[in-house]
Amino acid sequence: MTATAAAPGPAQVEMPKDPSRGRQIIRDILGGSVVISILAVVVGLVVGAILIAVTDPGVQAASGYFFDRPGATFAALGDSVGGAYSSLFQGAIYDFGRPDFLSGIAPLMNTLDLATPLILGGLGLALGFRIGLFNIGGQGQTLVGGAVAGWVAWSFPLPFPWGLILSIVAGIVGGAVAGGVVGLLKARTGASEVIVTIMLNYIVFYFISLLLRTPGALQAAGTINPKSPSPPDSARVPDLFGAQFSVTWMFVIAIAATVFFWWLMSRSSLGFKFRAVGENPAAARTAGIGVDSMYIWGMVLSGALVGLVGVNQVLAFTVGGFGSGFDAGIGFNAITVALLGRSRPLGVFLAGLLFGALNSGGYVMQAANDIPIDIVLVVQSIVVLFIAAPPLVRVLFGLPRPGTAPRRRAKAPKAVEAE
């Protein structure tokens, strides 16, 4: 984790040319934010290790005769936890069992591939959080974006790259509309975006399920399964480093989206207004910023970024057509990614990479060591919780309080006044 990922909310405004910025980074490092991020990951892994050990039959057996042969217990512990985490590493970064470097590095490429939708979704949700909008609708927006992208891809077959570009744009528009509806409802009627986005997740899911088994809608011709046709090759996102590695050009788009997010939020007029509304809607309104229209545009852009997740799932990740579950829980995981990244572009990017690595390694851990992949969820949530509560980590590890100026609030998407 870098300082950006770890810096608390309000103290972090992207203005690198500012003299205070450098000071801020140093203060953060000295204040232990980076250390805290690392320690939070450690806590997560330790809790994971405990769960692995406790449920491991070998350890259970050995602990039965712990007092006779404590060594056996520790050996079993080492076997189970060590084996699991070495699988995790080999599945996420580099596989030493492979003959050459290129195939050894394949897990890292897979990590990048899995991180791609998390980064895109994380950025989308983070955008909302920065405006004070709790967009829980990642699932719905992904589904709409992906379905629209897929539909355009096979309905308007154009030569490469035009088919692809058209489909990507369609996916972005789809996500934007799905998000925009929420913004519109919030702005016009005051409906809570938390509730509306959650409800839309279900509505969209069932709606797409219906379309997927309606011939002539999204269902592939000549099949009876609720599955879409596969998009033509000309609308597929090409591999980034050849067929050998799973990572696609969507990863480059994710990088571009991260840069765009940075520019938008710290360099553009619109982002300025977004941030003003997120930090203090009353003051923004008083200063003539249309809070309601910021909510609408914020949700549009948030949905647009999440729509790219759908594009990734439909045009890059799945090979054939898609079923109604193609969001694959990314809409929800992106919430934790955005939170872990503190809604900052670089933070979200790195958080996405971390989660991508945990997921990629998790598959191998499950295949090789029979450890349910759900352990990854546990580790992820613990990391996020602890990073959000630095004082708790300090207490746990007996760290001193940083000697910086008092901060008004813990990080939060919405302003929480300490007075």
């Binding site: 449920t55 938390v194 219906l210 939170l339 969820l377 919780l385 813990a410 939060a412 929480v416």
Partner: protein, 425 residues
Amino acid sequence: MTTVAGIPGAVALEKLDTRSWKTPVALGVFALGAVVLFLGLPRDGQADFQFSQSGDFFSIPDLIFTATPVCIGLAFACVLLAAGSFALVWFKRLTPLWYIGIFAALFLVGFLAWAAAGLRPLPLTGLLLGSVSLSIPLVFGSLGGVIGERTGVVNVAIEGQLLGGAFTAALVSSVTGSFTAGLFAAAVAGVLIALILGVFAITYIVEQVVVGVVVNVLVLGLTNFGYSTILTVDPEHLNRSATLPALPIPLLSQIPVIGPALFDQSIIVYVAYVAVPAVWYALFRTKWGLRARSVGEHPEAADTVGINVNRTRYLNLVIAGAIVGFGGAYFTIGSVGSFSQNMTGGQGFIALAAVIFGRWDPVRAAMAALLFGFATNLQNSLGILGSPVPSEFLLMLPYLVTVFAVAGLVGRSQAPAADGKPYIK
């Protein structure tokens, strides 16, 4: 104080002419829907509403009628009522709640008749029974949510508490063979999750929604992991509990239609019947409730009269956790006896919606929960009859209703003033 200069007194301020068209527009949309469905896509045949089932105290004959004319009549009535609502707003009057209620009832009867036309009898008892069953966990979840938010803590972790309660109830009651132990364990699980929420949200002032979302992931991960590594090792003994027996209440359970649905249920359901008024009473009539609400409205003020804000919040969160966890037991030992992964499937979020829909009032929130249960069960009932509506459409119905309700009827509702705000001295 004398008032001169022609200025009227302060308390009786007059009102400005402001009209809200939300209600008439919402009614209009539904009325239009009725016209399109009932007139545009008429369905032939008889609709048969079945009131009694075998074993009732006395039996009421089925209500059988030809669907089309009745539906057309009802569509016409809906249009009239919607127009009436427009007129009321035009004349600067509010559309009363009972008016909306009548509209909803007419629309619903019409819809049921339309959907069931020419099919098998629609058993109203079953419709009601299923609605109650599906709404019970939502009732508990929303009660917990109301208590939490009334004291200023937004509890997004209801989902996790329900899931945790479901898991522990199944495990403990399978192992011990005791329902009491299972229910107790479920409540304890809810409390533990509440404490995690408390530590992070209250003590370490992490944004409450953040904690809630993450705690949900944590509980999902833990229960999935526990399911794969513990429950499935020996499901016969670790994940196969008996289910709570139905305890028919004498006489009451024999009332036609509602008796079997409401009074031939298991203990969890009766607890819900008691819990709703009890929570309402406790919140609005007791010392505990006064203090809890004061902490949720204005914690500084509560502090200055000697109420320990954070302790009050912890206490209420724990009580709420116990309620929600207990409700989670319904998923397993209250209905099917075994746990499966992620079996709450987002019900906690629906409960959260019920809290807001019910405007932070336990009784209204329970009503909202019942409405969700009803909408969900409509899908069951009509699906079984083989009605023409696609099942996915009916499945999304409760969520659509929520969006309509939140956008059209609730809108900018007033949450407790300090809801979601940590208290920092």
